[in-house]
Symmetry: C2
């Protein structure tokens, strides 16, 4: 589905309601909300719910920070209470950085998103807390389980948009939609053994003629070079290129009067 | 290893040289470099190499954007050429968003970091390009392989620090260091079957006395409620809490003259 340009329409390649909603509780900075929208768009999430944004909504600077993901901002919904923002959802995860003394299941982002995907067809959501203090315990208590991030203990503080990014990334991977934009397919098929052995033979003949090998080490050096060449995983084109280079060097050598 | 406070010392819990170096080619904005440092610190990377930072180094505003990850900035090294910046490394990945027509292997971040970890003990690095135009083909050509990101085709553009974050996240996971800061261990052990059956019995007795069940549906409703209670995965404490709530309701009911 491509963007039609109408304000208010979601414009993602993922059908509405399939990806989790992202719920921000009392977000404060325009920059964080804008970058959250961008992070969501990067991984195909589009449903943003804001609970009591601090200092009002919309915010000056949020569209710039969204860097093109303005469709997410345009479709964002604003709530005055968290229960209301979660009302239609049937599975909710809360992101926290710190232990909360609650007996809730704790997932890393990969496991949390797998759990979410196991509820395919349900309306799901992930809650993110205030920039400074995160979610309150009563807010975490509204969720089914917790997601936390495997960060370094020396520097555990992720910013809001980065937490959203990691959740979006893992959701997209869990959903099976994480295809790379391109792959490294060889433009030429792998070389056959016959082609390689011909190349090896030509190379060794040229090196013999150039007096490269110390006689007592010839066998070992030749085998080591074959090993190197095997590691190149040459394609048919690679072999032709290498053969061409060898021939050019040989012609040049012979032109200089070599045997 | 905790930070000693000396400028120039790395201060991470990961030994120097174990994590890949992060090489930024001609980075422009202080904010991006600072947020890159923060993203690195979040996942335990600490070696930042800058190649020809645009408009000089250090940059105004970079320390604020690093939000405390200033140890990464303090230890950053600056190079005037990319070959020089890569010189001591033995395995290098280049991040690109677009197909380059090169016959290089392309990894997603998870596979790329697994490949990197398979070279444990080697000095490795990941290259990131300019904010607007990324890496040039000749620069990509200095790497062993490519890493690209499984983003939405509708919105494929990740910002620099977010690309670094995803690579750092996947590296930490591949390295086996991705432990969560806390887990959801039950403070009380799971309830035994005997404790559950006692609870079921008490609940059903109370509901019988309260005239809850329509007689013809009693068996089905009772089984469905047992099913719900099984899904709670109750701990011993949960059972005690539930029993206490039932007793309180019963006392209150009887006090009102119920049977």
């Amino acid at each position: 589905m491509t963007r039609t340009g109408s304000r208010g329409e979601t414009a993602t390649e993922i059908p509405a309601g399939e990806a989790p909603a992202v719920i921000l509780v009392e977000p404060q900075l325009a920059e964080n909300i804008g970058m959250t929208a961008r992070a969501m768009a990067n991984f195909g999430l589009s449903e943003l719910r804001l609970v009591n944004p601090k200092n009002g909504w919309p915010k000056k600077g949020v569209r710039e920070a969204a860097s093109g993901a303005t469709h997410v901002l345009d479709c964002a919904t604003v709530y005055t209470s968290l229960p209301e923002a979660l009302g239609d959802l049937t599975y909710v995860l809360a992101t926290t950085a710190r232990e909360r003394g609650q007996m809730k299941r704790v997932f890393d982002p990969e496991a949390g998103m797998a759990e979410m995907l196991s509820r395919a067809g349900q309306r799901t959501g992930v809650m993110f807390g205030r920039e400074r203090v995160g979610l309150e315990n009563d807010e975490v208590s509204l969720a089914d389980a917790i997601v936390t991030f495997p960060v370094s203990p020396d520097f555990p503080s992720l910013n809001l948009a980065q937490a959203v990014l990691l959740v979006g990334y893992e959701w997209r991977r869990a959903s099976g939609r994480a295809r790379l934009p391109f792959s490294g397919e060889m433009l030429s098929p792998p070389a056959t053994r016959a082609a390689l052995l011909t190349l090896f033979g030509n190379l060794e003949t040229a090196l013999d003629a150039a007096g490269f090998y110390p006689p007592e080490k010839r066998a070992v050096i030749a085998r080591n070079m074959r090993d190197m060449l095997h590691r190149m995983a040459m394609t048919e084109q690679d072999v032709r290129t290498f053969q061409g280079a060898l021939r050019a060097l040989n012609r040049s050598r012979k032109a200089d009067g070599a045997p």
